[in-house]
């Protein structure tokens, strides 16, 4: 099992969210989707990669576009960034993960954000993505906006920090951390190595 820690709001997480179900099917590996609030961690660490860094931001969008093409995706970039309702998007994702519909919700959220220009976490993206995942938006948003919804996201974010996570997406394999969509292959290799037999 690989833990997939991600925040809706992260640009590179688009790549992992959109391909992870395929990777799971191809490899037979189970991924546990773990939403958290990467922005809270990045602000705490003074790790602000793109805002007021126009050269790096321009490269990021181009790099995401090229990588997306490798995966058969055709986003319209740049997508609206940063998100104004990152926390709400991820509070819903926490509920979705607990109830078993996180991949469908997260994929639709990113599809609308990156391919249709609708900011994730805001309407109409938010309710539409919950509905596409087969859920009642009113019920889910009531839970997401409750004190419990807020504390669950904060708790998940504290857990992420406990693994040394500082960015999204991150993959955790038996405590070993891999950061970035481009490290997914390394995480899979690590799991295979662990599974190949006990150490000497």
């Amino acid at each position: 099992m690989i833990e997939f820690w991600f925040s809706i709001g992260s640009t590179y997480s688009y790549l992992s969210v959109m391909r992870l179900t395929h990777v799971a099917a191809e490899t037979g590996i189970r991924f546990r989707w773990r939403p958290f609030n990467v922005r809270a961690i990045m602000i705490e660490m003074d790790n602000i990669p793109f805002t007021r860094k126009p050269v790096k931001a321009a490269y990021m969008w181009r790099d995401v576009e090229r990588r997306a093409a490798l995966y058969g995706l055709r986003p319209k970039l740049p997508a609206p960034y940063p998100l104004s309702e990152l926390e709400r998007a991820n509070r819903v994702a926490i509920i979705a993960a607990a109830e078993g519909w996180c991949p469908a919700y997260a994929r639709e959220t990113y599809r609308r954000w990156f391919e249709a220009g609708e900011p994730a976490g805001s309407e109409p993206n938010l309710s539409a993505s919950i509905s596409v995942a087969g859920q009642d938006a009113e019920r889910v948003l009531r839970l997401a906006d409750s004190d419990r919804g807020k504390s669950d996201l904060a708790e998940a974010t504290e857990q992420a920090k406990g693994f040394g996570i500082f960015g999204s997406p991150s993959f955790v394999v038996d405590g070993e951390l891999f950061w970035g969509d481009d490290r997914l292959d390394d995480a899979v290799r690590w799991l295979r190595h662990l599974e190949s037999g006990p150490p000497d």
Copy 2:
């Protein structure tokens, strides 16, 4: 041809410097080694990835170690960081590139820095690496410390900025920028695509 823009002083550039000659031999691709001063660009862009970011720095060293193992390398990490004589190391690299002995010099520099703990750009690493590349250290250091040596590094750094380069290593294929050792495969794929025929 792929332009390989790198700064001695960058940690991830260890991976590219050590494997690039193998990649060139395997692929038949010619790489043009282009040393520049990444620190000057990163300070200008307020892009300081590791200093005062202990969690991210710890991850970086672990990630470099894992990636190095994939390439058959066994560095002793963390290496001394940051370098106090980054500029001198790269002024010598500029001369080495002009005279045709840059790969040998850069590899020995990184080997001593990452595998023997000798900071790059400082003695004994600096003169030893020049000597291993078959050159007279006194001659080279006189050139490197001259006004011309300093202005050549500044000029290369301005050229790097002109390509939108903000980090090391970077690969440039016909104007297309790829950042990071982990994008070398993408750069190779891009060149192959360009070579496969004219566009429609």
